[in-house]
Every structure is written in C-alpha cells, then in structure tokens.
C-alpha cells in the first residue's frame, strides 16, 4: 500500500465514479487532502444531502426535492403535451430551450438489447396510466438520436399509437454554425427527412 489507508480508500471511492480512471482518482484524492477542512466537510454534506433529499417525482420520474415536482405542479404548463426523455439531464436540456411548455416523462434510460436493458427496466409502464385520462393530446418522443434512443422511441410509439394519441419524434437537425459538407451522411439524410416548409 503506497498511500495511507484513508487516502487509498478515497482513491478507491473516486475511481468508482463514471469517467474517472485511477490517475484522476488519485489526483482528486490528493486535492481533498490539501483542502481546508470546512470545504471537505461541505463536499461530504453535499453528497449525503443529495442522497437524503433528492427523490424521483412519482408522476414524471424527474429528480426532485418535492413530490410531485415543480414542473408537474406548475399550473402554467400545458397538460395536453407530454415530452418523453431518457434522463433528467435531457429534461434540463429541453428546459434550457424555453420552447417547451408541456409536461415531461422521464424514462430513466433507453432500451438497449445488447446490454440487457428492456422496456421493463424503464418507466414505460408508468407512462400509459398518464395517457388514460385523455388529457394528453400529443406525446413528443425526445429520446436520443442513437440506436438505443431510436429503439426506445419505436417501442414507445408502439405502445401509445393504439390509444389514438398523436405521437411525434423530435427531428434530427444539423449543428448550428457548421458546414454541410462536414456533416456525416446519416445526420444529413435525417435532417432532410425532417425538413419543413419555410
């Protein structure tokens, strides 16, 4: 053991985080050693507070401090349109656009047959009861533009369409400010599919 036990333990904990390799974990741990005690305390408390106070909204599945969440209880939002996303971070991305004023449904992931993640592992079964009242007129499928996102959107569409509700899929666009000849053919073909009149 090259490091004293508490440091080795912290390195071990850091290296279990996504995207953090052993070298980064070591650097972070040594950084904590140099931190003022109050800062380390505050970091530790922040970690625990997230676990103690953050829950999933029982309606939309977003992470929240209050259940139902702020969006689900907001009377200013349009209950006729529901946007389905994979993760809370996707909801945040949609909110940043300020374009969408409907409600959300967070699936908690995407279907990935290769990884053994099937429809039952997602909050898809919670989606149908939300559509039963007839209040929702359109479901926007905003899952990712990758194979998993497409699989999830196709599966969700299969569930929702028999209910007679309009199902739409967000268009796959081109990056703003880019050159057309720099865009790969798949993105370009999809953007062409999703073209609109101007």
């Amino acid at each position: 053991m090259l490091y004293a036990e508490p440091i080795a333990r912290l390195i071990g904990e850091f290296s279990r985080l996504p995207g953090i390799g052993p070298k980064t974990a070591q650097r972070l741990a040594l950084h904590v050693v140099r931190m003022p005690r109050e800062q380390a305390q505050s970091l530790a408390e922040a970690l625990v507070a997230v676990k103690d106070r953050i829950i999933h909204c029982s309606i939309c599945g977003n992470i929240t401090e209050n259940d139902p969440c702020r969006i689900c209880t907001d009377p200013g939002r349009d209950p006729a349109i529901l946007c389905v996303v994979e993760e809370p971070k996707d909801l945040v991305a949609m909110e940043k656009t300020r374009e969408f004023r409907g409600h959300y449904h967070v699936l908690g992931g995407a279907i990935s047959p290769m990884e053994g993640i099937g429809p039952d592992d997602l909050r898809l079964k919670e989606l149908l009861p939300r559509l039963a009242s007839g209040e929702v007129k359109e479901v926007v499928l905003a899952t990712g533009p990758d194979v998993e996102g497409e699989a999830t959107a196709l599966y969700a569409a299969r569930l929702i369409k028999p209910l007679g509700i309009r199902v739409t899929r967000i268009a796959h666009g081109l990056p703003v400010g880019g050159d057309l000849d720099y865009v790969d053919e798949v993105t370009l073909a999809r953007a062409l599919e999703g073209r609109r009149e101007i």
Binding site: P18, G19, I111, P113, M114, E115, G116, G118, P119, D146, V147, E150, A151, L154, Y155, R158, P175, G178, Y182, D184, E185, V186, T187, A189
Partner: protein
C-alpha cells in the same frame, strides 16, 4: 504504435467517460477489434456516426499498447432501414450479439464479415416478422458453417449413412441420426424430416431468393433446434434474444404485417 486501415462494421458501442466511445468492431482484415473513439460524443465529431451500431465504415486504427484507437472513419453504409422498424432493430441486435458471443478478438474471418454485411442489408429491408425470422435463421446457420459447427442435416452425423424416415437430432454428435445410430446418443430428440429439409434450404438459398422459402409449420421446431444447437456450442445467455422475442414474437394483427 502502428496505423492500419480496415473495413469495419460496428458490433457494439459503449460510452467511456465524458466524450469517448469504446466500439467493438467486426473488421474484414483483423476480425473482432475493440477500439476507443476519442471525442466521438462531442457534437461535431466525425467519428460519432461511424460508432453507431451496425454502421459500416472504412476506418484507420492506431494499434496501441493497451487499446486500439479509432483515428479516422468514413461511413460507407448506415443501414438506416434498421432504425425504422423495431423488429428489424431487434433482429439485427441479436445477430450482433451472436457474433460477439462466438468470436474471440483478432480472429480474422473475412467470410463472417461478408455474411454479417449481407445479413444487415437483408434485415434493413425485410418487411414483416416471417422474412425477418428467415434472415435470422440463415445468419445462424451460415455463422455455424463458417465457424465449423455446421449441423449435419443431409446424412447421419454418426455413421454418414442415409437418413431414414424416422429421425433424431443429436446436439453432441452435431446433427441428424439414422435409426441404427439412435443408441449413440440417448439424449437425441426426435426431429421431423420437414424441419431438416427447411434447415437445408435456409442454409443453401441465396439472400435474394429467400422469399421463395416458406417456413410453414416447421418454423417453431427450426427455431428450437437452432437455439439449442447454439446454446450447446457456446454457453451463456443471449440478452438480445429475449427482446427479439418480445418485439417479434407475439403474432400481431395478420401475420406478414409490417
């Protein structure tokens, strides 16, 4: 470190860290290869499209000490049809997992590359459950053939003699048995002549002629037999099979529907 070029199809892809993707490629030249595509998940990366499962690309790969890395990729074919139908996607995922399951790293099999490419072409255009299922079984049979596990279905797997009217299939002996050889494998299970004939036709019919092959009443037995055969050759569960059954399995309004 050295740079090599290859024709590659993406078997699977998983994110690594903030911006990277680890892809498992089936290359014509090197067989199955794992490579990291650095920065592929940054919006503008040209590597992103080439790291999507099933995509065929011309790639340049750096051979690293620990792991190879994808340095350039040009998409040749994206098989977009696969992403238009859930059933197609499910079947293609199954073929990918089956390949990943059977292949070790860097065992070049140009014939397998060709087989999978043809399979993806077929699946990306197949309409309806039955044509998809046929494509899957053709892939399974030819995969076994290329890997040298081809089931013996035209003569007795034990003595090489003619097959009679009563037949059994032995997983251990790798094929059908004639009545004289039933005792060689007491575990061999009865199989119908129609099933063996269908297997033979599936194994031999060209992709563009596959529409003339009818699965008929033997479809369930063909599927059971092939899946038992695959499980016997290589242990382990195939996660994609459950999804394929979930998505394609339930007979829907009218068979051969879209």
């Amino acid at each position: 470190m050295s740079l090599y070029s290859a024709e590659a199809l993406v078997l699977r892809a998983r994110p690594l860290g903030e911006a990277d993707v680890v892809v498992t490629l089936l290359t014509r030249e090197e067989g199955k290869v794992e490579a990291v595509a650095r920065g592929a998940r940054r919006g503008r990366s040209r590597l992103l499209a080439a790291t999507q499962p099933f995509t065929e690309s011309r790639v340049m790969i750096w051979r690293g000490r620990n792991m190879d890395s994808l340095s350039q990729a040009e998409v040749v074919h994206s098989f977009r049809g696969l992403q238009q139908e859930l059933t197609r996607l499910a079947c293609a995922s199954y073929t990918a997992e089956l390949l990943d399951h059977f292949l070790g790293e860097r065992e070049p099999h140009p014939a397998l590359y060709e087989l999978w490419r043809e399979t993806l072409h077929y699946l990306s255009r197949a309409e309806g459950r039955t044509p998809l299922l046929k494509g899957v079984h053709v892939f399974e049979l030819r995969l076994m053939r290329i890997l040298g596990y081809e089931p013996e279905i035209s003569r007795c797997a034990a003595c090489g003699g003619e097959l009679g009217a009563t037949l059994r299939f032995s997983l251990g002996l790798g094929g059908a048995l004639c009545p004289q050889c039933f005792s060689r494998d007491p575990g061999a299970s009865p199989v119908s002549a129609g099933t063996l004939a269908l297997l033979q036709r599936l194994a031999d019919t060209a992709w563009d002629r596959l529409h003339v092959v009818e699965l008929g009443p033997w479809a369930p037995e063909v599927q059971r037999l092939l899946w038992a055969f695959i499980a016997f050759r290589r242990e382990g569960t195939l996660k994609t099979r459950e999804f394929m059954e979930l998505v394609c399995g339930a007979p829907e309004e009218g068979v051969n529907n879209k």
